[in-house]
């Protein structure tokens, strides 16, 4: 590989890793706090993309505002999922997970029947133009994903480590009964975790909408990768998810450059199987997956 291609591929990898990180962090957070495994996380990503389609492409709302609005809108969807699916099935991780597979079906049908199934939605690119640094060329639309993801991770870190409510989330993740004894409501923490998880998935879908094929079934491709990321990172570990997201971002981008996207997904899954064999708890996880 030439140096120019190499640098270009590294830049692409960072972009890809940022997308994976914003998606997977929500999965890891919800799993860590209350063992909530959301199969419909990919559909949350899809709904975020449709928020941009409806507000920005159809409604004329400025792109940044539409992306920002995706957070509360999809966050509320997460909140509802916690209240009506995860809370009644809390004693069994698998039934919550299977029930959200049903939710994925429901969201696909609702979105498909409202805005059409067949054609992908075309969304005008808000940030035209290409940045050139030396030999590296990146579209603005792809480039803004990186600082956006960085800002989201920073905010999440601040919230979890500096804000009282966020500390409550971490307490609940460490020991939910002890947290409950200290007056931290498990129900409220679970709801909060799902609100944040939904919001993150929504914003990443919203950011990717202009450069992604927006269809009701776009969540499927992202969910496979997101699951691989959280298993590699160590299920409940947010730091692990971020690390694994960038690792997978690099693996996928490099393999895609050399071979193609299908081989990249295969290599990603094989990497996951290898991690499971060598270190079942994932890279930074403490418990077995």
């Amino acid at each position: 590989m030439e140096t120019a291609t190499l640098v270009q591929t590294i830049a692409n990898s960072v972009v890809q890793g940022s997308v994976y990180a914003t998606v997977a962090v929500g999965l890891a957070l919800a799993f860590g706090v209350m063992q909530m495994a959301n199969f419909a996380h990919g559909e949350f990503f899809m709904v975020g993309a449709y928020v941009v389609y409806v507000l920005y492409a159809l409604g004329g709302v400025p792109f940044p505002a539409a992306v920002a609005l995706a957070f509360p809108i999809v966050g509320l969807l997460g909140l509802a999922t916690e209240r009506f699916i995860f809370r009644p099935t809390r004693d069994n991780v698998l039934s919550g997970f299977m029930a959200t597979a049903g939710l994925a079906f429901i969201l696909q049908v609702l979105v498909g029947q409202t805005w059409g199934v067949g054609l992908m939605r075309s969304i005008p690119t808000p940030y035209m133009g290409i940045v050139e640094v030396g030999d590296v060329r990146l579209g603005w639309q792809r480039l803004i994903v990186v600082p956006a993801a960085g800002a989201m991770m920073g905010l999440l870190w601040f919230f979890l480590y500096r804000v009282r409510l966020g500390k409550g989330l971490r307490a609940c993740a460490q020991d939910r009964e002890a947290a409950a004894l200290l007056g931290i409501s498990n129900n409220r923490m679970a709801a909060l975790a799902m609100f944040i998880a939904g919001g993150f998935a929504g914003v990443s879908g919203a950011l990717m909408a202009p450069i992604h094929a927006v269809t009701p079934y776009m969540g499927h491709a992202i969910i496979v990768t997101a699951f691989v990321v959280v298993i590699v990172g160590g299920m409940a570990s947010i730091e692990g998810a971020i690390l694994a997201a960038f690792l997978l971002g690099f693996i996928h981008t490099f393999v895609t450059t050399v071979f193609d996207a299908v081989v990249a997904t295969m290599v990603g899954v094989a990497f996951m199987a290898a991690v499971l064999i060598v270190k079942p708890s994932g890279l930074l996880g403490r418990v077995k997956a």
């Binding site: 939710l103 298993i231 997904t265 996951m272 199987a273 079942p280």
Partner: protein, 320 residues
């Protein structure tokens, strides 16, 4: 006695059914029988507590195996059927090795990712798998010059193979040294291991045997449809399998079959609502998991005590 009577009635019904319904429904019955192997073999795996998301793809392994054997080697169905089973079992054996390190949720999504890997192999390699379009021209089953081409002969062929498969799995489920140990692994893995049960071994056996029968189901499907593609074995089909099993329940051997029959009926009844059907099925799945986690079988278990109570009204009531 009651059991034997029920079995005789079921056999009679299954033998008469194809002659009294329209041909379209015979095709549905064939699919129902094939899916019966799938549902029962899936339950076999769940008895150890492992819920897989790769079972439908293992069925696909059987389908692709029989298609390749028939088309490339020209061997007959009777040779490719067991080979399809063993092929799926071999893949299952390889899959379960990394998955043994996980339990519950990790097993679920780990098996999903591995299954996707295999599906991508089918999509990626046009030669020999046919890529996204899949494989066509899979020959019908034949014995000598006789071809099982029409629906009714294929129905009875399927019925015989399904009955044998289900019977074998029933024996495994009831066998003290296999089925009961699998359930012990599910109930308390640590306790089972402390009395000398090699839990990973039994989880591997369950997964591999389940994969074998999924492969048999796949071979039956491939020879009936004549064409298969990777979409036949995608996650949507897998979620439908889970819906059957959840609706029926997994505590008893017959639970998944009840779920399969009920949900196939619902599926056929909602044919006019084609594009809304996934929403309905998703809603049913959620409703069952929340309100009736034991499935329909848990309702049936409540019937005998209820009948008993109605038969012998409590004395206190009578004096009123």
């Amino acid at each position: 006695m009651g059991k034997a009577l029920g079995l005789a009635a079921l056999t009679a019904a299954l033998c008469v059914a194809p002659f009294v319904v329209r041909e379209y429904y015979v095709e549905i019955l064939i699919l129902l029988l094939i899916n019966a192997i799938l549902a029962v073999s899936y339950r076999l795996i769940t008895t150890t507590g492992d819920w897989s998301l790769g079972h439908v793809v293992l069925m696909g392994v059987g389908a692709y195996a029989t298609a390749l054997i028939a088309k490339l080697l020209g061997w007959s169905f009777w040779a490719s059927l067991p080979l399809a089973g063993f092929g799926a079992a071999a893949v299952g054996f390889v899959f379960v090795y990394p998955l043994l390190r996980t339990r519950g949720f990790g097993f679920f999504i780990g098996s999903f990712a591995l299954a996707e890997l295999l599906r991508l192999v089918w999509i990626k390699f046009h030669d020999p798998f046919g890529g996204p379009r899949g494989m066509i021209g899979i020959p019908p089953v034949s014995v000598g010059s006789y071809q099982f081409y029409d629906a009714i002969p294929y129905y009875f062929l399927t019925l015989a193979i399904v009955a044998l498969s289900v019977w074998i799995m029933y024996r495994i489920d009831k066998a003290v040294l296999v089925g009961n140990v699998m359930k012990a692994v599910y109930m308390d893995e640590a306790l089972a291991q402390s009395v000398g049960v090699n839990a990973p071994k039994y989880r591997t056996i369950a997964f591999t045997v389940g994969a074998f029968f999924a492969g048999i189901a796949g071979a039956l499907l491939a020879h009936r449809l004549g064409a298969i593609d990777p979409h036949n074995f995608d996650i949507n089909t897998m979620v439908y399998l889970i819906i059957w099993v959840v609706v029926g329940g997994t505590a008893t051997f017959w639970g998944p079959l009840i779920g399969l029959v009920v949900m196939t009926a619902v599926f056929e009844a909602t044919r006019p609502l084609l594009e809304w059907r996934p929403l309905l099925f998703g809603g049913i799945l959620i409703a069952f998991l929340i309100f009736l986690p034991g499935g329909i079988e848990s309702l049936l278990a409540k019937i005998p005590p209820l009948v008993e109570r109605l038969r012998r009204p409590r004395l206190g009531r009578r004096t009123l």
